[in-house]
Subunit: 155 residues, 2 copies
DNA sequence: CTTGTTAATGAGAATTATTCTCATTAAAAA
DNA sequence: TTTTTAATGAGAATAATTCTCATTAACAAG
Protein backbone atom coordinates (compact mmCIF):
# COMPACT_ATOMS: atom_id res chain seq x y z
CA UNK A 1 0.00 0.00 0.00
CA UNK A 2 2.98 2.24 0.39
CA UNK A 3 4.40 1.92 -3.09
CA UNK A 4 4.69 4.38 -5.93
CA UNK A 5 2.00 2.97 -8.13
CA UNK A 6 -0.58 3.38 -5.40
CA UNK A 7 -0.44 7.16 -5.49
CA UNK A 8 1.13 7.54 -8.90
CA UNK A 9 4.59 8.95 -9.30
CA UNK A 10 4.67 12.19 -7.43
CA UNK A 11 5.60 15.59 -8.77
CA UNK A 12 8.83 15.59 -6.80
CA UNK A 13 10.14 12.36 -8.26
CA UNK A 14 11.87 14.07 -11.16
CA UNK A 15 13.60 16.57 -9.03
CA UNK A 16 14.94 13.93 -6.70
CA UNK A 17 16.03 11.86 -9.61
CA UNK A 18 17.89 14.68 -11.24
CA UNK A 19 19.86 15.09 -8.04
CA UNK A 20 20.55 11.35 -7.82
CA UNK A 21 18.52 11.02 -4.68
CA UNK A 22 16.66 7.83 -3.98
CA UNK A 23 12.97 7.89 -3.35
CA UNK A 24 13.03 6.43 0.12
CA UNK A 25 10.14 5.89 2.43
CA UNK A 26 10.94 8.60 4.98
CA UNK A 27 11.75 11.05 2.22
CA UNK A 28 8.40 10.52 0.59
CA UNK A 29 6.62 10.72 3.90
CA UNK A 30 8.18 14.09 4.67
CA UNK A 31 7.26 15.51 1.30
CA UNK A 32 3.74 14.14 1.43
CA UNK A 33 3.15 15.55 4.88
CA UNK A 34 4.45 18.98 3.99
CA UNK A 35 2.39 18.96 0.82
CA UNK A 36 -0.78 17.86 2.52
CA UNK A 37 -0.74 20.21 5.48
CA UNK A 38 0.56 23.23 3.62
CA UNK A 39 1.54 24.39 7.10
CA UNK A 40 4.91 25.48 8.44
CA UNK A 41 6.03 22.60 10.59
CA UNK A 42 9.04 22.22 12.83
CA UNK A 43 11.34 19.26 12.36
CA UNK A 44 9.88 17.61 15.40
CA UNK A 45 6.29 18.02 14.27
CA UNK A 46 7.26 16.50 10.97
CA UNK A 47 9.00 13.68 12.76
CA UNK A 48 5.89 12.91 14.78
CA UNK A 49 3.73 12.83 11.68
CA UNK A 50 6.15 10.73 9.70
CA UNK A 51 6.14 8.16 12.45
CA UNK A 52 2.39 7.93 12.05
CA UNK A 53 2.05 7.44 8.32
CA UNK A 54 5.28 5.62 7.60
CA UNK A 55 7.39 3.17 9.53
CA UNK A 56 8.81 5.27 12.32
CA UNK A 57 11.76 7.19 10.99
CA UNK A 58 14.60 8.50 13.10
CA UNK A 59 14.68 12.16 13.99
CA UNK A 60 18.12 12.46 12.45
CA UNK A 61 16.75 11.10 9.19
CA UNK A 62 14.12 13.79 9.23
CA UNK A 63 16.72 16.48 9.75
CA UNK A 64 19.00 15.04 7.11
CA UNK A 65 16.21 14.91 4.58
CA UNK A 66 14.94 18.37 5.34
CA UNK A 67 18.40 19.71 4.76
CA UNK A 68 18.60 17.89 1.45
CA UNK A 69 15.16 18.98 0.35
CA UNK A 70 15.94 22.58 1.14
CA UNK A 71 19.16 22.31 -0.80
CA UNK A 72 17.49 20.96 -3.93
CA UNK A 73 14.69 23.46 -3.62
CA UNK A 74 11.71 21.30 -2.77
CA UNK A 75 11.26 22.76 0.69
CA UNK A 76 11.58 26.20 2.22
CA UNK A 77 13.14 26.76 5.60
CA UNK A 78 12.54 29.82 7.67
CA UNK A 79 12.75 31.13 11.15
CA UNK A 80 9.88 32.54 13.16
CA UNK A 81 11.81 34.02 16.03
CA UNK A 82 11.56 31.15 18.47
CA UNK A 83 14.59 29.08 17.90
CA UNK A 84 13.35 26.13 15.97
CA UNK A 85 13.31 26.19 12.20
CA UNK A 86 10.06 25.81 10.27
CA UNK A 87 9.68 24.05 6.98
CA UNK A 88 7.12 24.26 4.25
CA UNK A 89 6.63 22.81 0.81
CA UNK A 90 8.11 24.92 -1.94
CA UNK A 91 6.04 24.65 -5.03
CA UNK A 92 7.07 28.04 -6.15
CA UNK A 93 4.10 28.81 -8.27
CA UNK A 94 2.54 32.21 -8.32
CA UNK A 95 -0.70 31.06 -6.79
CA UNK A 96 0.70 29.76 -3.57
CA UNK A 97 3.84 31.77 -3.05
CA UNK A 98 3.37 33.80 0.07
CA UNK A 99 4.99 35.71 2.90
CA UNK A 100 4.38 35.86 6.62
CA UNK A 101 2.98 37.95 9.41
CA UNK A 102 4.48 36.63 12.64
CA UNK A 103 3.17 37.49 16.09
CA UNK A 104 6.01 38.22 18.48
CA UNK A 105 3.99 37.17 21.44
CA UNK A 106 2.13 33.97 20.58
CA UNK A 107 4.20 33.02 17.52
CA UNK A 108 1.16 32.62 15.32
CA UNK A 109 2.05 32.73 11.67
CA UNK A 110 -0.34 34.25 9.16
CA UNK A 111 0.31 33.65 5.50
CA UNK A 112 -0.57 36.28 3.01
CA UNK A 113 -0.43 35.88 -0.69
CA UNK A 114 2.38 37.62 -2.45
CA UNK A 115 0.28 38.20 -5.49
CA UNK A 116 -1.48 41.36 -4.51
CA UNK A 117 -0.49 45.03 -4.53
CA UNK A 118 2.15 44.36 -7.17
CA UNK A 119 4.31 42.69 -4.58
CA UNK A 120 5.50 40.14 -7.12
CA UNK A 121 6.48 42.81 -9.60
CA UNK A 122 8.20 44.81 -6.96
CA UNK A 123 10.27 41.85 -5.77
CA UNK A 124 11.19 40.86 -9.28
CA UNK A 125 12.41 44.34 -10.05
CA UNK A 126 14.28 44.51 -6.77
CA UNK A 127 15.99 41.16 -7.35
CA UNK A 128 17.06 42.24 -10.78
CA UNK A 129 18.56 45.49 -9.60
CA UNK A 130 20.28 43.98 -6.58
CA UNK A 131 21.70 41.11 -8.60
CA UNK A 132 23.25 43.51 -11.02
CA UNK A 133 24.51 45.95 -8.45
CA UNK A 134 26.16 43.43 -6.16
CA UNK A 135 26.88 40.68 -8.68
CA UNK A 136 24.89 38.36 -6.46
CA UNK A 137 22.85 35.41 -7.67
CA UNK A 138 19.57 35.70 -5.81
CA UNK A 139 17.87 32.35 -5.36
CA UNK A 140 15.13 33.14 -2.96
CA UNK A 141 13.95 35.66 -0.45
CA UNK A 142 12.26 35.99 2.87
CA UNK A 143 9.81 38.75 3.62
CA UNK A 144 8.33 38.65 7.07
CA UNK A 145 6.51 41.24 9.10
CA UNK A 146 6.68 41.01 12.88
CA UNK A 147 4.25 42.47 15.36
CA UNK A 148 1.17 41.70 17.37
CA UNK A 149 -1.75 39.67 16.13
CA UNK A 150 -5.35 40.53 16.78
CA UNK A 151 -5.61 38.57 19.99
CA UNK A 152 -2.33 39.69 21.49
CA UNK A 153 -3.00 43.38 20.82
CA UNK A 154 -5.62 43.34 23.48
CA UNK A 155 -3.64 41.79 26.32
CA UNK B 1 36.80 57.19 32.85
CA UNK B 2 33.90 54.90 32.33
CA UNK B 3 31.17 57.18 33.63
CA UNK B 4 28.36 58.96 31.92
CA UNK B 5 29.81 62.43 31.95
CA UNK B 6 32.85 61.26 30.03
CA UNK B 7 30.93 60.52 26.85
CA UNK B 8 27.87 62.59 27.62
CA UNK B 9 24.56 60.94 28.25
CA UNK B 10 23.92 58.67 25.32
CA UNK B 11 20.92 58.65 23.04
CA UNK B 12 19.72 55.38 24.49
CA UNK B 13 19.58 56.65 28.05
CA UNK B 14 16.00 57.90 27.75
CA UNK B 15 14.71 54.73 26.28
CA UNK B 16 16.26 52.62 29.01
CA UNK B 17 14.96 54.96 31.62
CA UNK B 18 11.43 54.84 30.31
CA UNK B 19 11.55 51.09 30.67
CA UNK B 20 12.98 51.31 34.20
CA UNK B 21 16.21 49.73 33.14
CA UNK B 22 19.41 50.69 34.86
CA UNK B 23 22.31 51.96 32.86
CA UNK B 24 24.79 49.29 33.81
CA UNK B 25 28.29 48.88 32.58
CA UNK B 26 27.78 45.79 30.41
CA UNK B 27 24.58 47.23 29.00
CA UNK B 28 26.32 50.37 27.90
CA UNK B 29 29.23 48.43 26.51
CA UNK B 30 26.93 46.31 24.34
CA UNK B 31 25.12 49.35 22.98
CA UNK B 32 28.32 51.25 22.35
CA UNK B 33 29.88 48.35 20.53
CA UNK B 34 26.86 47.78 18.33
CA UNK B 35 26.65 51.47 17.59
CA UNK B 36 30.31 51.84 16.76
CA UNK B 37 30.71 48.85 14.50
CA UNK B 38 27.36 49.14 12.75
CA UNK B 39 27.95 45.48 11.93
CA UNK B 40 25.78 42.45 12.58
CA UNK B 41 27.48 40.67 15.41
CA UNK B 42 26.72 37.36 17.05
CA UNK B 43 26.26 37.21 20.79
CA UNK B 44 29.66 35.69 21.17
CA UNK B 45 31.40 38.34 19.10
CA UNK B 46 29.72 40.96 21.22
CA UNK B 47 30.79 39.15 24.33
CA UNK B 48 34.39 39.14 23.22
CA UNK B 49 34.34 42.84 22.47
CA UNK B 50 32.59 43.73 25.70
CA UNK B 51 35.27 41.94 27.61
CA UNK B 52 37.82 44.18 25.96
CA UNK B 53 36.34 47.60 26.56
CA UNK B 54 34.55 46.95 29.83
CA UNK B 55 35.28 44.77 32.80
CA UNK B 56 34.73 41.28 31.46
CA UNK B 57 31.02 40.56 31.44
CA UNK B 58 29.49 37.11 31.58
CA UNK B 59 28.14 35.59 28.41
CA UNK B 60 24.78 35.14 30.06
CA UNK B 61 24.69 38.84 30.82
CA UNK B 62 25.27 39.58 27.17
CA UNK B 63 22.41 37.32 26.16
CA UNK B 64 20.11 38.72 28.81
CA UNK B 65 20.81 42.25 27.72
CA UNK B 66 20.46 41.55 24.06
CA UNK B 67 17.07 40.06 24.73
CA UNK B 68 16.07 43.13 26.70
CA UNK B 69 17.40 45.54 24.12
CA UNK B 70 15.54 43.77 21.36
CA UNK B 71 12.38 43.88 23.43
CA UNK B 72 12.56 47.63 24.02
CA UNK B 73 13.49 48.25 20.43
CA UNK B 74 17.08 49.44 20.69
CA UNK B 75 18.51 46.45 18.88
CA UNK B 76 17.45 44.31 15.95
CA UNK B 77 17.86 40.58 15.95
CA UNK B 78 17.91 38.50 12.83
CA UNK B 79 18.94 35.17 11.51
CA UNK B 80 21.33 34.57 8.65
CA UNK B 81 20.74 30.89 8.13
CA UNK B 82 23.58 29.52 10.17
CA UNK B 83 22.14 28.95 13.55
CA UNK B 84 23.43 31.79 15.61
CA UNK B 85 21.46 35.00 15.90
CA UNK B 86 22.93 38.31 14.73
CA UNK B 87 22.31 41.63 16.37
CA UNK B 88 22.60 45.17 15.14
CA UNK B 89 21.83 48.60 16.47
CA UNK B 90 18.33 49.78 15.66
CA UNK B 91 18.32 53.48 15.11
CA UNK B 92 15.42 53.25 12.74
CA UNK B 93 16.13 56.34 10.76
CA UNK B 94 15.65 56.47 7.07
CA UNK B 95 19.30 56.96 6.31
CA UNK B 96 20.59 53.79 7.83
CA UNK B 97 17.67 51.41 7.61
CA UNK B 98 18.67 48.56 5.37
CA UNK B 99 18.05 45.00 4.30
CA UNK B 100 20.32 42.08 3.57
CA UNK B 101 21.76 39.92 0.85
CA UNK B 102 22.96 36.72 2.47
CA UNK B 103 25.26 34.22 0.80
CA UNK B 104 24.11 30.66 1.42
CA UNK B 105 27.58 29.32 1.07
CA UNK B 106 29.99 31.59 2.92
CA UNK B 107 27.39 33.42 5.01
CA UNK B 108 28.62 36.83 3.98
CA UNK B 109 26.05 39.50 4.64
CA UNK B 110 25.76 42.48 2.33
CA UNK B 111 23.69 45.43 3.48
CA UNK B 112 21.80 47.42 0.98
CA UNK B 113 20.02 50.62 1.70
CA UNK B 114 16.26 50.41 1.80
CA UNK B 115 15.95 53.91 0.48
CA UNK B 116 16.23 53.25 -3.22
CA UNK B 117 13.79 52.08 -5.88
CA UNK B 118 10.85 53.22 -3.76
CA UNK B 119 11.41 50.30 -1.43
CA UNK B 120 10.46 52.44 1.56
CA UNK B 121 7.23 53.56 -0.03
CA UNK B 122 6.38 50.09 -1.08
CA UNK B 123 6.92 48.68 2.41
CA UNK B 124 4.94 51.43 4.02
CA UNK B 125 2.02 50.82 1.72
CA UNK B 126 2.27 47.09 2.27
CA UNK B 127 2.34 47.44 6.05
CA UNK B 128 -0.69 49.65 5.95
CA UNK B 129 -2.72 47.27 3.84
CA UNK B 130 -1.68 44.18 5.76
CA UNK B 131 -2.37 45.83 9.12
CA UNK B 132 -5.85 46.66 8.06
CA UNK B 133 -6.60 43.38 6.38
CA UNK B 134 -5.41 41.15 9.21
CA UNK B 135 -5.90 43.51 12.14
CA UNK B 136 -2.25 43.03 12.93
CA UNK B 137 -0.01 45.65 14.51
CA UNK B 138 3.17 45.54 12.43
CA UNK B 139 6.19 46.65 14.38
CA UNK B 140 9.01 45.72 12.12
CA UNK B 141 9.94 43.63 9.16
CA UNK B 142 12.69 41.52 7.77
CA UNK B 143 13.53 41.46 4.09
CA UNK B 144 16.40 39.23 3.16
CA UNK B 145 17.52 37.82 -0.15
CA UNK B 146 19.44 34.57 -0.17
CA UNK B 147 21.75 33.30 -2.86
CA UNK B 148 25.36 33.20 -3.93
CA UNK B 149 27.78 36.08 -3.60
CA UNK B 150 30.28 37.07 -6.21
CA UNK B 151 33.05 34.83 -4.91
CA UNK B 152 30.92 31.76 -4.33
CA UNK B 153 29.32 31.89 -7.77
CA UNK B 154 32.57 30.85 -9.28
CA UNK B 155 33.34 27.81 -7.18
C1' DC C 1 27.35 61.49 51.15
C1' DT C 2 25.48 57.20 53.18
C1' DT C 3 22.22 53.70 53.18
C1' DG C 4 18.60 50.50 51.66
C1' DT C 5 16.21 48.34 48.03
C1' DT C 6 16.17 45.57 44.34
C1' DA C 7 17.52 45.10 39.49
C1' DA C 8 21.44 43.23 37.37
C1' DT C 9 25.45 40.48 37.31
C1' DG C 10 28.73 36.38 36.69
C1' DA C 11 29.93 31.58 36.71
C1' DG C 12 28.60 27.63 35.49
C1' DA C 13 24.96 24.12 35.12
C1' DA C 14 20.92 22.89 32.33
C1' DT C 15 18.37 22.84 28.20
C1' DT C 16 17.38 21.97 23.49
C1' DA C 17 17.64 22.15 18.48
C1' DT C 18 20.56 20.27 15.39
C1' DT C 19 24.51 17.49 13.66
C1' DC C 20 27.52 13.57 13.75
C1' DT C 21 28.91 8.52 13.99
C1' DC C 22 28.73 4.07 12.52
C1' DA C 23 26.99 -0.34 11.99
C1' DT C 24 22.90 -1.92 9.37
C1' DT C 25 19.35 -1.70 5.67
C1' DA C 26 17.18 -1.16 1.35
C1' DA C 27 16.91 1.54 -3.37
C1' DA C 28 18.03 1.00 -7.89
C1' DA C 29 21.30 -0.74 -11.37
C1' DA C 30 23.33 -4.75 -13.44
C1' DT D 1 18.87 -12.19 -7.97
C1' DT D 2 22.85 -10.03 -6.88
C1' DT D 3 25.60 -6.06 -6.13
C1' DT D 4 26.60 -1.47 -5.05
C1' DT D 5 26.30 2.28 -2.33
C1' DA D 6 23.06 5.87 -0.74
C1' DA D 7 20.19 6.18 3.14
C1' DT D 8 18.70 4.85 7.58
C1' DG D 9 18.11 4.63 12.82
C1' DA D 10 19.66 4.99 17.51
C1' DG D 11 21.96 7.44 20.27
C1' DA D 12 26.05 10.21 21.37
C1' DA D 13 28.05 14.80 20.58
C1' DT D 14 27.80 19.69 19.75
C1' DA D 15 26.69 24.39 20.39
C1' DA D 16 23.66 28.30 21.00
C1' DT D 17 20.85 29.91 24.36
C1' DT D 18 18.52 29.97 28.89
C1' DC D 19 18.33 29.16 33.76
C1' DT D 20 19.89 29.26 38.77
C1' DC D 21 21.37 31.50 42.62
C1' DA D 22 24.44 33.72 45.56
C1' DT D 23 26.69 38.26 45.10
C1' DT D 24 27.11 43.06 43.48
C1' DA D 25 26.16 47.66 42.17
C1' DA D 26 22.47 51.31 40.34
C1' DC D 27 20.10 54.74 42.01
C1' DA D 28 16.35 56.66 44.98
C1' DA D 29 15.56 58.41 49.43
C1' DG D 30 17.00 60.19 53.61
Amino acid sequence: MDNLSAKGISWYYDRLNRHCCRLTKPRRAILDILEDTGEHLSAEQIHRQVSKISTNAGLSTVYRNLELLVRIGLVWKFDAGDKKARYEIAKRTDENHHHHLICKKCNTIIDYSASVDNEKDFIKMREKNLSRKYNFKIENHCIDFFGLCYKCRKS
